[in-house]
């Protein structure tokens, strides 16, 4: 078991989530029907993305504080995985929206906010690409990463809540209210958040190790 227990946990949880998602009993809701199963995949991906991007920002702050080069590598890989989760979240959301709202990309503030956030992090990657000097790249992109996260928070949490949205939890609706979720859903939904976040950390860990080995080989 030692220190790899969380990887086993991630595999176990995700197997459980996928089985429940495909075969489990779900409440019947008007309009949503069977598509409510997507709540196990779509929503945890967003939670995972926010956690990953937060971690990325934290590592950028750490880099600026102590200047250890490794922290910058970790920050960029967390941001990369965050972008991957964001794209997957958009894809699962698109499928869901196609069946419940009638079109794959309705003009909804939350969707647009996320698209803007993706643009912001892609700009972060482009910024990284435009430096030759490693020290400069690490420092300046860390500054932008923190700045981007500070703008990302109002973009995701405040702006959609001020306007009307199709999502639950917007335009004054309570998020995850008593009406939407019953206990059976929660039993799968909460572990799913943990499972997807752990999966993201795992992917990031592999990428970081790959980078470290590559850096060591280059020297």
């Amino acid at each position: 078991m030692n220190k790899n227990w969380w990887k086993a946990l991630a595999v176990l949880i995700l197997t459980y989530v996928i089985l429940q998602g495909m075969l489990g009993v779900v409440p019947r809701q008007p309009i949503l029907n069977e598509s409510i199963r997507n709540v196990y995949f779509h929503v945890p991906l967003w939670f995972g993305m926010i956690t990953l991007l937060l971690t990325s920002a934290v590592y950028s702050i750490r880099y600026l504080r102590n200047g250890r080069f490794d922290d910058d590598v970790v920050a960029v890989e967390f941001a990369n995985t965050g972008i991957l989760f964001g794209i997957l979240g958009c894809a699962t959301g698109s499928i869901w929206a196609n069946f419940t709202w009638g079109e794959p990309w309705p003009n909804d503030p939350k969707l647009n906010s996320v698209a803007i956030a993706m643009l912001m992090y892609l700009a972060y990657m482009i910024l990284r690409g435009s430096f030759d000097d490693e020290q400069r790249r690490a420092r300046i992109s860390a500054v932008y990463n923190i700045f981007a996260f500070a703008v990302f928070i109002p973009l995701i949490f405040i702006v959609p809540r001020l306007t009307d949205s199709l999502h639950p939890g917007n335009g004054g609706n309570p998020a995850f209210g008593k009406y939407d979720m019953d206990n059976k859903l929660r039993m799968v939904f909460y572990p799913a958040i943990i499972g997807f976040t752990l999966l993201g950390v795992w992917i990031t860990q592999l990428r970081v190790r790959y980078r470290r080995i590559k850096a060591a080989l280059d020297e």
Partner: protein, 224 residues
Amino acid sequence: MGESVRQMGALMRKEFLLEWRQRYALNGMLLYIVSAVFVCYLSFNARRGQLTPIVWNTLFWIILLFTAINAIAKSFVQERASRQLYYYTLASPQQIILSKILYNTLLMLVLAFLGFGVYAFVLGNPVGDMPLYLLTLVLGAIGFSSSLTLVSGIASKAENPATLMAVMSFPVILPLLLMLLKIAKNALDGLDRSVSWSEVGTVLAIDAIVLTVSWLLFPFLWRS
């Protein structure tokens, strides 16, 4: 406290002097916004009052956004690196970024009011609640300059500042722009002011976040 205010004043004075000595840059910006407005006017080929309020409002803010990006992009590339190093030995980085933001705010105010004047002159002025619309312009000037100044500092360190400036600032500025568009639209329709206060609050909150982050992060930026 008094000392740092005096230093800020000196830095601001330096910015004004610099701008005044390189008048072509300032005149260039003024001409930029006037010609952008005129290009839009001719492209739509609209007579006064023919644009719908939504188009009228959005078009104006897009012009203002591009002007802001162009005007603020030059705030760090105007001076040579050696001279910037000299300033950094004289004043603290926080004072430098604050004086730059303040200066850019004033610049944006001039550009926004001039742009609005020309725009309203050629395309007609359907604004219902003038004081609120002008307040939106002021809020916009503060917001644009506070979020774009740090981005321009970041971009100026990179290889191709112009592209990077645009790529990095569009997503960063969008939440602010959407809120401003909404307040401006409310003012345009002459809605009751109580409708707009929550958005004004949000804009001020975003400004506060961006200002604080700029203040905290700029020292790390100039050290490189």
